[in-house]
Subunit: 341 residues, 2 copies
């Protein structure tokens, strides 16, 4: 099979760089790859198979139809450009929130609802990072015991807010240690040695965008439109990988040992030997594509509940890896093929 | 009234230094103050009313009866020495876990169950830091709507593990930024740019000591011996002040606005204007004696639930301030008086 012509839109962002690395690593057959970015980042050099490629500002003049466009450029760029790529015959996998609520656009975690990738699909939405790692753990448990409600508190890394936020954490920490004055820009408050209970803006009910996304997207992905779910989303001074304390309640009585087996069978890495201080940690999970679960136990406040701890790299399975897996699934089903040149 | 002769046992520890500062600040009438410490820390100089006082290694030879002994020296020192102080006529307020489960020893947060300080009390247990700040918020809500169950995820600062843990966070962060190798001692893993879902050891059911304390102590303080409560306790790279994401479910339907008023009336500082990024933060709460609540909202997964965010300085209201308030309450009730010299 000849390779695909692929565009990475937002190729110099925190997620875009991971998409680029995955494409460059050969997980998909590639004939040519175009790194699109904002005008500000145009000219940034990216490595592809040993040669340097300059990022191109996406515009009317530079736009080229491709077989596959992996988008990680924010919702407004996606709203403007994803339809143009689709109209030109491209298949788009978009990592922004732009199309996640659109009933005509499948919202896909391939291991869970890959069947939503049906013939004719041209645009697929990649779920929110916090949602992906949580549903990866919830789905196998739900299949056995039927999910009844979920509560989740997140410990989200700075990189979830983008490359500049990551720099702000590192620079802010240096400034704090040197007694300097931090100037938060990517975050509403200094993030060094702090935790901030805000990820996104708030609605009138006092819920943040991220908290709402976790409920809305979990419902769509699991096909449980009324699932009660309450999230408290918090930014922590971690560079990479989100952690989550989850309580899940089921219709049937769950069993922690069986849960361990179900998660392992589903491809989750279960790290769970707390007596030896073995459980998932964001610093261990950073740079790895898997979802990690530990601290798996009966919920002492709910006879039908389980409590557990989920960690995953928000830039990988939470974003770039999932998007590339969607493309792989499309390819495997014959829904993505070299069609333009 | 003549002053009290006061001992601070563990005066050079993270909490002990705060007890010392509070005693030196004059919140209690003091005639003399003895800073007891371990042999290792003996000789450390502490300031009291402009003069330097040397910490004394607590031993048979240095022991003196006092009116009030504020203990923050760990459970084993408390088990050995608190009974000796009591036998010598002292009143002891102990910040360790040594006596918290003893039904003969009141476990007191003065604003909530100060009535447990009855005539003849010689030994009072100070609750766990994570518990104090949570029950401070739960108690006023419970009085109105009757608490039915609680779930809590904590974001606990390094100082909760002691002065050396605080140094380990600062030094580890410097080492990480310089590309060096961290050697965790106070924590089971490097804490810099990490979160660790372990606070204390684990039992066979996979629950940590801290998680169990939060349930056991909340039940005792609120007088709800069967309250279902599930905690996930997590260490975060914050220097000082613990944060908690709490879900509380009630027998009656709660109202967030009324909850705001109830908490304010109870002396809690409600910082809750998320649209303006106003909510409690550990860096704001550090060094302050109050308990801060924000992100107060209806639990979207439970019609009888509230979700909120509680932050307080674990060394102050979570430890030293509460212990001193217990002493003040004893004094106000005539249960603590100058009796020895």
């Amino acid at each position: 099979m000849s390779g695909l012509k692929i565009a990475v839109v937002g190729a110099t962002g925190a997620v875009g760089r991971e998409m680029w690395r995955l494409v460059a690593s050969g997980v998909l057959p590639v004939s040519r790859v175009l790194p699109y970015t904002s005008a500000r980042s145009a000219g940034t050099e990216l490595m592809f198979h040993g040669t340097s490629v300059r990022a191109i500002a996406l515009s009317e003049n530079t736009f080229e139809p491709v077989d596959l466009a992996l988008f990680s450029a924010g919702a407004s760029v996606a709203r403007e450009w994803a339809p143009r790529f689709v109209a030109a015959g491209s298949v788009v996998v978009d990592n922004s929130s732009a199309f996640r609520k659109d009933p005509d656009v499948p919202l896909v975690v391939p291991e869970i609802n890959g069947q939503a990738l049906e013939a004719g699909v041209r645009l697929v939405a990649n779920p929110n990072c916090s949602t992906i790692q949580m549903v990866m753990a919830l789905a196998p448990l739900h299949r056995s015991w039927r999910l009844r409600s979920v509560k989740v508190a997140t410990y989200q890394s700075a990189s979830g807010a983008g490359a500049r936020a990551l720099t702000e954490l590192l620079e802010g920490t240096r400034q704090y240690l040197e007694g300097g004055v931090e100037e938060p820009r990517a975050f509403p408050h200094p993030i060094a040695f702090n935790v901030i209970p805000q990820v996104g803006d708030f609605d009138a009910a006092g819920e943040s965008v991220e908290e709402r996304k976790m409920r809305d997207e979990t419902r769509r992905i699991l096909g449980l439109p009324d699932l009660p779910l309450s999230a408290t989303c918090v930014r922590v001074p971690v560079l990479r990988a989100h952690s989550e304390a989850v309580w899940a309640s089921f219709e049937d009585v769950p069993d922690p040992r069986r849960a361990h087996a179900l998660l392992t069978e589903a491809g989750i890495v279960v790290e769970d030997d707390p007596a030896r201080s073995r459980y998932p940690l964001p610093r261990h999970a950073a740079g790895r594509p898997e979802v990690f679960v530990g601290r798996l136990r009966s919920d002492p406040s709910d006879p039908r509940g389980l409590a557990f701890w989920v960690v995953s790299d928000n830039l990988l399975k939470g974003a770039a890896t999932n998007a590339v897996q969607v493309a792989e699934a499309l390819l495997a089903r014959g829904l993505l093929a070299r069609s333009v040149s």
